[in-house]
């Protein structure tokens, strides 16, 4: 029994990454919960990671794969800082959404 399975090419991965990235962008734009917005940003970063790995594979270059580690470290650092800021805001205003934080404007 043979099922025709198309071999995934680099393009597939790139398209998947682009979709993930777009999902992240849309998530930031439509979600109100700061934590979820933050997760969407992480999604964007990981989409880029996927791009890097796919590209590295295509180019046969180790550089792209090592970059992923840097990005992970950076993302982790962002998590630490981001959560800190979000928690301190939520402590002051429990249940605040991103739209509630709009004192500064004009």
């Amino acid at each position: 029994m043979v099922i025709a399975i198309a071999t995934p090419t680099t393009t597939w991965y790139l398209l998947l990454a682009a979709m993930l990235f777009s999902t992240g962008v849309v998530g930031v734009l439509v979600r109100r919960n700061p934590l979820v917005m933050f997760m969407c940003i992480e999604l964007m970063l990981n989409a880029v990671n996927l791009t890097f790995v796919a590209m590295a594979n295509k180019l046969g270059d180790i550089g792209g794969q090592t970059t992923v580690f840097f990005v992970m470290v950076v993302a982790a650092a962002e998590v630490v800082v981001g959560l800190g800021i979000i928690v301190s805001i939520l402590r002051r205003r429990p249940g605040a959404t991103a739209d509630d934080i709009a004192e500064l404007k004009g």
Binding site: L29, R32, M37, D99, I101, E103, L104, K105, G106
Partner: protein, 637 residues
């Protein structure tokens, strides 16, 4: 002595710094005397430099004193340098001279004001800036002064900040001036592109030798003119000047009559070869046209004003238009000549009006004045001299300079001459009207007594010596000021030979036909002036005339009737219409520009909603647009 030219601006600057540091401790009146002393000393130094220049031969009359190299740009450098040549020293003479008189006058005028020292602080800073403007060796130094006088003017107009109208007036001055500044900046960069330097000498040299492209020269000249239009209150940027009357009267006299507003004319004369030689031949026509239009337009508005200072303000705009008419007609000497005489008599008139306002306890409405001649004899006498000078009555100063401008205007085009002549007629008319309303006729100022009792009673009185002395000096100058340039022979044209090294090549030679009929033209100008005076006389003090000299009146009956009918009917209507147009339409346009910026800000503000998701969406939108552009570039290949 020539090397001391730097002292001229340095002295008022020192005054400014001293008052800045010690202002409160000096207090009134010492800070006033200090400021006056500094400006006065600057005047003395200027006279010294002037005498030194006189002793040189014509060719050597240009001395550059470099303080330090300011801005190295490529191979060329821009220096902080002062230029002592006939033109700049002429300007410096009357800036410091009239400046000192006005400082002295202000001591009396500002007496008792809580911000007394601050007033002199700004005044000294202004004189410093103005001197940088006229003494600058290159456009950058001039620009520094240019910005400085603008800022000081703004500060001084809004000096009585608590008055709401004063604050708005300051704002308007700022907006229109900035349009002019923009023109200056553009001209500066084009000059730099074209001749690789910002100094006037290479620019003028390039213009004379034709090494600068005609189109570039035209752009530079017209951009400089845009700058001049803003600073010298020409159509359509003249609005700020009448509004600037909100400031204290000495400020009106110093800044808005004698010095700052002449900066535009000065700049055009300073760079005269660019306009006169290098630019396309239609460029001077624009200058002359706008000058003539402004002269006429402002004069018609002046006729319908009732505020004593507003009349003078519009009159200033009108006279500045005259100067630009001269510049556009290639009569650079006449432009400077009129600038000088105008500085004398207009400063005199403004200070005189200030004295009247002072004596009337702040009343500015001419309808509530009258018969003040007896109560304020010196003010009245000097004001009348100023009136004769501006009305073009020989042998007062204004006659000579106005006459010369009209001669050149005739030479350029009889139409320009005609406009100038009508302006002269109107000038004589509204000034006579003012003199009659303020100093003659019935006293209308004690009408208040009924409403306010003894309390509201006004007792007009003569002003203190600090205020009267400058009036007398300026009156003297308004009488004899014309002597510096008399058209009888080459030797009596002193100003022309003095300014020759600066403007010789750009001055337009008169056609022989014009030279021949110059006395005829002068005669017509005198007649027109007299007609204007007579017209106002019959309209505004007719009853009196009837009572005294009925025969004269009978002879002039038709004239009288025509004038009365016209002025009472369609004439007044049209003047009032123009005044209305000025208030609503043109004023509205300037305010509109401000409102447009505010409106645009309102739109941009909507995006700045404070919502982080909106911001993210806008960033995303920007990203999409950028990607679209780059992809398009890729596909387009």
């Amino acid at each position: 002595m020539l090397d001391l030219v730097w002292l001229i601006p340095a002295l008022p600057l020192a005054g400014f710094l001293i008052i800045l540091v010690l202002g409160r401790r000096l207090g009134e009146p010492r800070s006033g005397y200090l400021a006056t002393l500094m400006t006065g000393t600057a005047f003395v130094v200027t006279v010294g430099v002037f005498i030194d220049l006189l002793s040189k031969t014509t060719e050597e009359r240009a001395h550059i004193k470099t303080i330090f190299t300011w801005l190295p740009v490529g191979n060329l450098k821009v220096d902080l340098a002062f230029l002592a040549d006939p033109l700049s020293i002429t300007m410096a003479l009357f800036v410091t001279g009239i400046g000192s008189l006005i400082h002295l006058y202000s001591i009396g005028y500002m007496h008792g004001d809580p911000k007394f020292s601050k007033f002199f602080l700004y005044l000294n800073l202004f004189v410093f800036s103005m001197l940088m403007l006229v003494l600058g060796e290159n456009m950058l130094v001039t620009f520094l002064g240019w910005e400085g006088v603008g800022t000081c003017s703004y500060l001084l107009i809004s000096f009585w900040h608590t008055r709401e109208s004063a604050a708005t007036a300051g704002k308007k001055a700022f907006v229109t001036n900035r349009v002019g500044d923009w023109g200056f900046m553009v001209a500066m960069f084009f000059t730099f592109q074209a001749v690789g330097s910002l100094s006037y000498a290479p620019l003028n040299e390039a213009a004379r030798s034709g090494s600068i492209a005609q189109s570039t020269a035209t752009v530079i000249a017209l951009m400089l003119f845009v700058g001049a239009v803003g600073k010298s209150a020409q159509l359509p940027l003249y609005l700020w000047l009448p509004d600037a009357m909100e400031g204290p009267t000495p400020v009106s006299a110093l800044i808005h009559a004698a010095t700052m507003v002449t900066a535009g004319v000065y700049l055009m004369v300073r760079t005269s070869p660019v306009l006169a030689i290098a630019a396309w031949h239609w460029a001077p026509w624009i200058v002359a046209g706008i000058g003539a239009a402004t002269a006429l337009y402002a004069a018609t508005i002046a006729v319908a004003q009732n505020d004593i200072k507003k009349v003078l303000a519009y009159s200033t705009v009108s006279q500045l238009g005259y100067m630009f008419l001269a510049v556009g007609s290639g009569a650079y000497v006449a432009a400077i000549f009129h600038m000088i005489t105008h500085a004398f008599f207009k400063a005199l008139l403004f200070l005189g009006s200030g004295s009247v306002i002072h004596g009337m306890n702040g009343e500015q409405d001419m309808r509530k004045m009258g018969a003040l001649r007896k109560l304020m004899p010196i003010t009245g006498f000097t004001f009348i001299i100023g009136w004769l000078a501006i009305a073009g009555v020989p042998p007062f100063a204004g006659f000579w300079s106005k006459d010369e401008i009209l001669l050149f205007a005739w030479d350029k085009s009889p139409i320009l001459w005609g406009v100038g002549l009508v302006t002269a007629l109107l000038t004589a008319y509204y000034m006579t009207r003012q003199v009659i309303m303020v100093f003659y006729g019935k006293a209308r100022w004690d009408d208040h007594a009924a409403e306010h009792g003894a309390h509201g009673d006004t007792h007009p009185h003569e002003s203190p010596w600090t205020m009267v002395t400058p009036l007398v000096v300026l009156a003297g100058l308004s009488v004899v000021g014309g002597a510096i340039q008399l058209p009888f022979s080459a030797t009596t044209k002193r100003l022309e030979s003095w300014l020759e090294p600066v403007i010789a090549t750009s001055e337009r030679p008169l056609k022989s036909g014009s030279e021949d009929i110059k006395w005829v033209l002068a005669g017509i100008a005198v007649l027109i002036g007299v007609a204007g005076i007579a017209g106002a006389y019959v309209v505004y003090s007719k009853k009196k005339v009837k009572a005294i000299e009925p025969a004269v009146l009978a002879n002039a009956w038709y004239y009288d009737k025509t004038v009365s009918d016209f002025m009472g009917g369609p004439g007044r209507k049209s003047f009032e219409f123009i005044a209305w147009f000025d208030q609503r339409i043109i004023d509205g346009a300037v305010n509109g520009a401000g409102r447009m910026v505010q409106g645009a800000a309102g739109v941009v503000r909507k995006g700045q909603s404070g919502l982080v998701r909106t911001y993210a969406a806008l960033i995303g939108l920007g990203a999409v647009l950028l990607i679209a552009w780059f992809v398009f570039r890729g596909v387009a290949q």
